[in-house]
Symmetry: C2
Subunit: 480 residues, 2 copies
């Protein structure tokens, strides 16, 4: 087994796209399914999703949100009930036309998103103010046929996500919920995946078509492109009216309810791979790593084997007791060098090496995956491993934040904008708020408004395109 065949054959810098795909496949996170556009998750990939899921579940639950289940099939007639929303998804919908040999009556859509289905039910369940707020989250998949080439986690025709749908008696409460969720999204992505995000609103042009407005969190990837990391929508009464989501208030008068919907998907895993990975493969933030510490015992004689494996097991037990996910690589048919490469490819945050000389000196070697730093740790310092993992987690976020800053440019001059956009990056540029300017910029540079950061109003500057007074300073970027 040569190193060539298992390692990544291109560098992250030279061919980012190919590098990405190789990391996904060779770290065994995912693989292609037999149907174009679909992927499967292998245990290491799914484990990262489960880790995120459990963090979100905890935070959702603290916020009074409970989980439910919705079926994947939605009748065409229902999907079309909110027209703008339907038009947005129509070209991407998978249609079921037959069951067995029989044609189904109303064609059935595979859920592109569940607003229409959820709100049909909500309108039955909600009678009075006592039933509100109603806050349910659904862990499922969404299906949207992709015509472009598949990119695992980033562009697939079926993807794992969660979609939350809440209903409120007042506009204020619904708007507050939108922001509460966005905050949960932001702190989870930053704390668990070590990826900094910028939050704010989408422009009218870029919002979810069914929403009054969309809030978003965006991150910048190492290739200079922006990635939408999650969205939280204020739906106003756009759905409650056609779907008759009404409640009798304390005064016994019926009102249309105020709603929100919001979601993040496994795209977050794609972002994590892109932001932290390197030419040796995946680099996992400790909090979401399926294996956090791998111990590689090194020996040639039976005597060394015995004492080294004993030590390895002692260390593992110590770490297990602290809920640190630890694995001893006892494979006999591979060399230590092969194992190092293997675990580096898989992104395990910390590697412990123990050889005969280490045993003699009563120490181990710890190698950090993210910066390749190797240090000695004496046997009585094993307890430090927990804090080393914490330090890795925070340093990875710090590094990503720095990288993100380097790729963010404050810009006022359109010529400079056009010149620099080819290299990618986040462009803070003043904008008059006019959709025409937004469209012209997109047309001429390929850059969208990714996000209008909260509190980015600045009356003293002028629109980067038309030079009229600006109303905000959005972030423009080319996106995924």
């Amino acid at each position: 087994m040569g190193k060539e065949s298992v390692g990544i054959s291109v560098s992250k810098k030279d061919d980012f796209s190919e590098w990405y795909t190789q990391v996904v496949l060779k770290a065994k996170l995912a693989d292609y399914a037999p149907v174009k556009g679909l992927i499967v998750l292998r245990p290491d990939g799914y484990s990262i999703w489960e880790s995120l899921k459990s963090t979100f579940d905890r935070k959702f639950s603290q916020n009074g949100i409970r989980n439910g289940f919705l079926p994947v099939l939605i009748p065409e007639s229902l999907l079309g009930k909110e027209q703008k929303h339907f038009a947005g998804f129509n070209p991407e919908v998978f249609w079921v036309t037959h069951s067995g040999e029989n044609e189904v009556g109303d064609r059935l859509a595979l859920r592109p998103t569940s607003e229409t289905l959820a709100y049909t039910l909500y309108s039955k369940w909600i009678k009075s103010w006592r039933d509100l707020p109603l806050k349910i989250n659904f862990w499922n998949t969404a299906l949207r046929a992709e015509i472009k080439a598949t990119k695992p986690f980033l562009r697939t025709s079926e993807f794992l996500w969660q979609e939350g749908h809440t209903v409120h008696t007042t506009e204020e409460e619904a708007k507050a919920e939108v922001l509460k969720i966005l905050e949960i999204y932001k702190n989870t992505v930053e704390e668990e995946l070590a990826i900094p995000v910028i939050t704010g609103k989408k422009s009218e042009k870029e919002k979810f078509v069914g929403a009054v407005y969309t809030t978003t969190m965006e991150s910048i990837m190492p290739d200079g492109k922006a990635l939408q990391m999650g969205t939280s929508h204020f739906l106003g009464q756009n759905f409650s009216k056609p779907f008759e989501v009404k409640f009798a208030d304390k005064d016994n008068i019926e009102h249309f309810a105020w709603q929100t919907s919001w979601g993040v998907s496994w795209r977050l895993i794609g972002a994590m791979i892109m932001v932290h990975g390197d030419d040796q493969g995946l680099v996992l933030p400790p909090k979401v790593a399926p294996t956090q510490v791998v111990i590689v015992p090194i020996y040639n004689t039976d005597e060394d084997k015995k004492r080294i494996l004993e030590k390895a097991n002692e260390i593992k037990q110590n770490l297990d007791s602290k809920q640190i996910r630890t694995h001893i690589d006892e494979r006999t048919e591979m060399s230590p060098g092969y194992k190092f490469n293997d675990w580096e490819m898989k992104g395990v945050p910390l590697r412990i090496e123990i050889g005969p000389k280490d045993m003699d000196k009563q120490k181990i070697i710890v190698a950090k995956r993210y910066n390749k730093e190797k240090t000695d740790l004496s046997f009585n310092e094993i307890d430090k491993i927990e804090s080393i993992l914490d330090e890795i987690q925070s340093k990875m976020l710090e590094n990503a934040r720095e990288q993100s800053k380097l790729n963010t440019i404050d810009i006022s001059d359109y010529n400079e904008f056009k010149e620099k956009i080819a290299k990618g990056g986040f462009f803070n540029a003043p904008w008059c708020g006019n959709q025409e300017c937004e469209e012209k910029i997109k047309e001429e540079t390929g850059a969208d408004i990714r996000v209008i950061p909260f509190d980015s109003e600045d009356e003293n500057r002028n629109c980067v395109y038309c030079n009229e007074k600006s109303t905000s300073i959005p972030i423009f970027a080319r996106g995924y």
Copy 2:
């Protein structure tokens, strides 16, 4: 809000089927989706599933099984690769023929089960004995078009389940895995849902068509019908051959692998409702109850309100600290009687009542849902609640076991069999092993062989149908 409109309008004894549906809907576990044959789960229903899921996940993980993700779409060509298997599902398959306006080439099936898809991937992932055993579980849904009337949790066209798929180097190891899983299923259902099961093999006629043999666990429902609670299949090399799931052994020679597959579905929740529910509604075993204890404060004056709510909160804090899921019903617009009925409908295992007189006597009233027993508990006995919940859990299993025994009949005479089968029940009846007898019995009585209990060989008896020497004593019953 009259009691009539919210309570169950039929008795469990008189109209079991209607009683069941009303419990599901009125306890707010589930509701019908707009597409015929599909249901949605409301938070209380989904929470029971999540509880089962977490127990299974823990036990699977202890057994070296990890989770993965598979997409819902399977190409027709792949589904047909194992012919018998395909024939079994063909009439029930939902077919996707279009994405947007475009026809898809190979029609896409919505997963009726994932053997074909999983093993296509396994054949890529497995190269050598080092990659085995490979044990992956998938929490997803299966889709099989139902023509008969929908029964929530029991008969729906999409259902939540888990499907596990393992690959082994030897036949023995695979067979042992089949039994290990069946044992996990059995102890989970008995310990968590308080439902006794009988385990054994399916007959050739009743086995999963793709399997060499199927092991099963079966339970008897209060209406005398049998319910299949879960199955674990030994697939032998039936799939590894057409799908080329091969491995190079230590001798470097390629072999076809030995496989298993196994699953349980939300049907388990249906069984729990049927076995434990009563005319007042749902009765939940404490271990899976979303709310385990509900506290209903009773007061008329502000002064009483203050001291009673204080006490209620104190008790809740105590129970919370023991991870007992506790809720205080502080609704002001309903009477205590209404609240009692409401929580009885929802099946909450233990209700605590605190009124002014109780406060004066330094005690609370605890009412057990499953047997309606009410007892006093002094303030310094609150710590007993934990053991009361444990006792409820074990008593519910005991009661169900007794009920099950009463419905199980040892029978040798076919005339007696035919006479008694109308009333339902499990019939232990000797059988010669001949499929003709099995088919005749089914034709004449409507009863299938539900399970051939392990170690039911008994050479001294004669087949209940043909009188030839028996080879086993299966359980015959009419089933769901």
